[in-house]
């Protein structure tokens, strides 16, 4: 048995847990830990330039791989800087373990230098947290933290480590627990067969069925099973913003994303369906359109989720099924195949004919600019899709560009669309793209951003230089906080209160170059394809592509506030 200090034990435990990369930033309270990192070569530590970026990078890594992302920050400001990233992960149920330094035990509560009650500050945005009191507890706490973060409905876990607990002079016998049992934490097992049977009966009797699948399917590794079940049933399917890629976007049964900026056909199918199979979703207000009493008025609602508290939280489920998505889907598929009653093909045909009519509206049709020069933001995403052959990892920030990326990239695989759906954190996209690039060095990691969001974490250009990350940043530069401006156009008489700043934007090309990267500006539609190709051809360089897009463009369709899902604004001049 090895004699280790707390700092050494922490790093060893991470390694024993299968961690190979951590994202962090040093400071006084974690110096013992950094010394332990220096003395080993099993775990790679990535030095970011801001703790928020460490959390988003770890988050991106987790979203891409399914493994928990790991973050190491110092006490006080290091810890509080991490909060936005922890909250982002929490809202989207992303597994993450955040290790924060803390002042020495004897100083806790004394308002010591760089002291913050991290367990308290983070409490509403973590799945659980630990304050370590003895070095010898470190292996067990690390084991528990990873278990909690990555099982059930995943989420971030904080481990707060007082400096004295990592003291290199205090050693103990290190052993990493093989497995863990916690009497107070049980992971829901398989779904109830009887409930699944009830759901299957409803699906078989349905005349206008609809499948609504979200991020839970991706987190629960259920995409393949969902695809099999959906094909077996022949039903239309929509994905949430968080669920894009859970079902292949290019498949004919896919009706597009739903919700506030969902397609006309997806929202109409939702509104008029008579049976709704909801899987790994939480009936978010960006989907239901605020007034839940108008939501799916004719539908029997079947809700599958691993988190019982998610069921009937906003919309009452007629058939609740608590269980891991993959196990429920598996059993559902088996029951569907074995069912004596078959899908009502005749009604289904009528339903698909109706959907085909809705599709004809072509709600995502792009009208090119009249002058033939101005670039529409949608055209940029379409071009990026073509050049990357739909096979890139695409992270995004928050705003119009995010919605355009979601609507026009067409994700065919899970874990390819990396975005902050729940918290909507500007500044997420770029560091998340770093996490992706670390996880998949040979993949194409694209960050679709806006000139507003990018400025919230642009310091990471330095990290990308240090680690030679060849990320492709596609900035849909509309010289404005576009989404804010869109709302002001639509609801505030066009009064652009603090949403424009064209005169004070940096020269992003020079900015990228000053960090040693490549910058390419695209202003004319005629050069869009060629210059994008040029950017993607620079395989080993980070390229910042500053695309000046039409600042007047709005994201459509858009849900009409207070309406039902069928109520949408389709363009500047058309409503449903």
């Amino acid at each position: 048995m090895d004699q280790l200090s707390g700092g050494e034990a922490l790093i060893r435990a991470l390694h024993d847990e299968g961690v190979d990369i951590i994202f962090g930033y040093p400071g006084g309270a974690v110096l013992h830990i950094y010394d332990a990192i220096f003395n080993q070569d099993k775990i790679e530590h990535i030095l970011v330039r801001h703790e928020q970026a460490a959390t988003h990078a770890a988050d991106g890594y987790a979203r891409g791989t399914g493994k928990p992302g790991v973050v190491l920050v110092t006490s006080g400001p290091g810890a509080t800087n991490a909060i936005t990233g922890i909250a982002t992960a929490y809202m989207d149920s992303i597994p993450m373990v955040v290790i924060s330094g803390q002042v020495e035990s004897r100083l806790i509560g004394s308002d010591g230098f760089q002291e913050t009650d991290m367990v308290g500050v983070s409490r509403p945005v973590v799945k659980h947290s630990f304050m370590v009191q003895n070095a010898a507890d470190i292996p067990l706490i690390v084991k528990k933290a990873f278990h909690i973060a990555s099982t059930g409905r995943p989420g971030p876990v904080v481990i707060d480590l007082p400096k004295d607990v990592t003291d290199p002079k205090v050693k103990f016998d290190y052993a990493y627990p093989v497995d863990i049992k916690m009497r107070s934490y049980a992971v829901p097992a398989k779904g109830h067969s009887g409930q699944i049977k009830k759901a299957v009966d409803v699906l078989m009797a349905a005349k206008r069925p609809m499948i609504y699948a979200g991020g839970g399917v991706i987190q629960g590794e259920g995409a393949q099973m969902l695809t099999e079940l959906t094909r077996e049933l022949g039903f239309p399917i929509t994905n949430t913003l968080m669920g894009l890629g859970a079902y292949p976007a290019s498949d004919k049964q896919f009706v597009g994303m739903l919700g506030m900026h969902g397609t006309y056909e997806a929202n109409m199918s939702m509104h008029y369906c008579d049976a709704l199979l909801a899987i790994g979703v939480r009936f978010d207000d960006r989907v239901t359109n605020s007034d839940v009493t108008k939501f799916c008025p004719d539908a029997t609602i079947l809700h599958v989720d691993i988190d019982p508290a998610s069921i009937s939280k906003t919309v009452s489920a007629d058939v609740p099924i608590v269980g891991s998505v993959i196990s429920v889907l598996e059993e559902m598929l088996a029951q569907v195949k074995a069912s004596k009653q078959k899908v009502d093909e005749k009604s289904l045909k009528v339903w698909w004919d109706q959907i085909a009519q809705w599709r004809e509206k072509d709600s995502l049709g792009v009208t090119p600019s009249e002058d033939g020069i101005t670039i529409k933001p949608q055209e940029v995403i379409q071009a990026v899709h073509a050049i990357t052959e739909g096979d890139a990892y695409v992270s995004s920030d928050v705003g119009q560009h995010q919605m355009f990326a979601a609507q026009y990239y067409g994700f065919d695989k899970p874990r390819r669309w990396i975005n902050s759906g729940g918290l909507g954190t500007m500044g997420f996209g770029f560091p998340a793209a770093m996490g992706i690039q670390f996880a998949f060095p040979d993949a194409i990691s694209v960050c679709v951003t806006g000139e507003g969001s990018f400025q919230m974490n642009l310091q990471e250009l330095a990290t990308c230089m240090q680690y030679q990350l060849p990320i492709k940043i596609i900035c849909l530069n509309n010289r404005a906080l576009g989404m804010v401006k869109q709302w002001q156009d639509m609801q505030y008489g066009g009064r652009h209160s603090h949403s424009t700043y064209a005169e004070s934007l940096p020269d992003f090309i020079k900015l990228a170059e000053s960090y040693g990267h490549v910058g390419i500006r695209i202003e004319n539609k005629s050069e869009l394809n060629a210059k994008l190709e040029e950017a993607f051809a620079l395989k080993d360089r980070l390229v910042f592509v500053d695309v000046l897009v039409d600042p007047e463009e709005h994201v459509y369709p858009m849900a009409i506030k207070g309406g039902a899902m069928k109520d949408m604004i389709l363009s500047k001049s058309e409503r449903t």
Binding site: R123, P124, I148, R183, S184, A309, S312
Partner: protein, 163 residues
Amino acid sequence: MRHIISVLMENEPGALSRVVGLFSQRNYNIDSLTVAPTEDQSLSRLTLTTTGDERRIEQITKHLNKLVDVVKLVDLTEGAHIERELMLIKVKATGAQRAEVTRTTEIFRGQVVDLTNSVFSIQLTGTSDKLDAFITALGESIVLEVARTGVSGISRGEKVLTL
């Protein structure tokens, strides 16, 4: 409706703040709360009263159950149960009022636990309603101070809340 929820949870630092934090975070109200270690020192039993419709109470119990420190819980109001609250109350009484206070205390089966020339300290146990009624019977004008423990409860019959 008023519900009494009893929770067995790990007797660990931070556990209580997670429960209380959950209520404020999700805009649920807590009317009363009592907590103490059980015969098994590694567990605490927390009992709280809250109000809400069925749906809200269901969300409350689900979210409580989700807390990693919570081992088990029961909504006592779902079945036959016994609830008790203890109150210490200090009242000012002189002259003829003294006999009146003593009599009211007897009727409510309270005990006078401390006495001076003009001040009674009385202990009373019962349901929250009974404690409320006692205060009303004494007359609020003579009440100097009230300390109530909050509701504690247990199921009737065979049903137990243990591991």
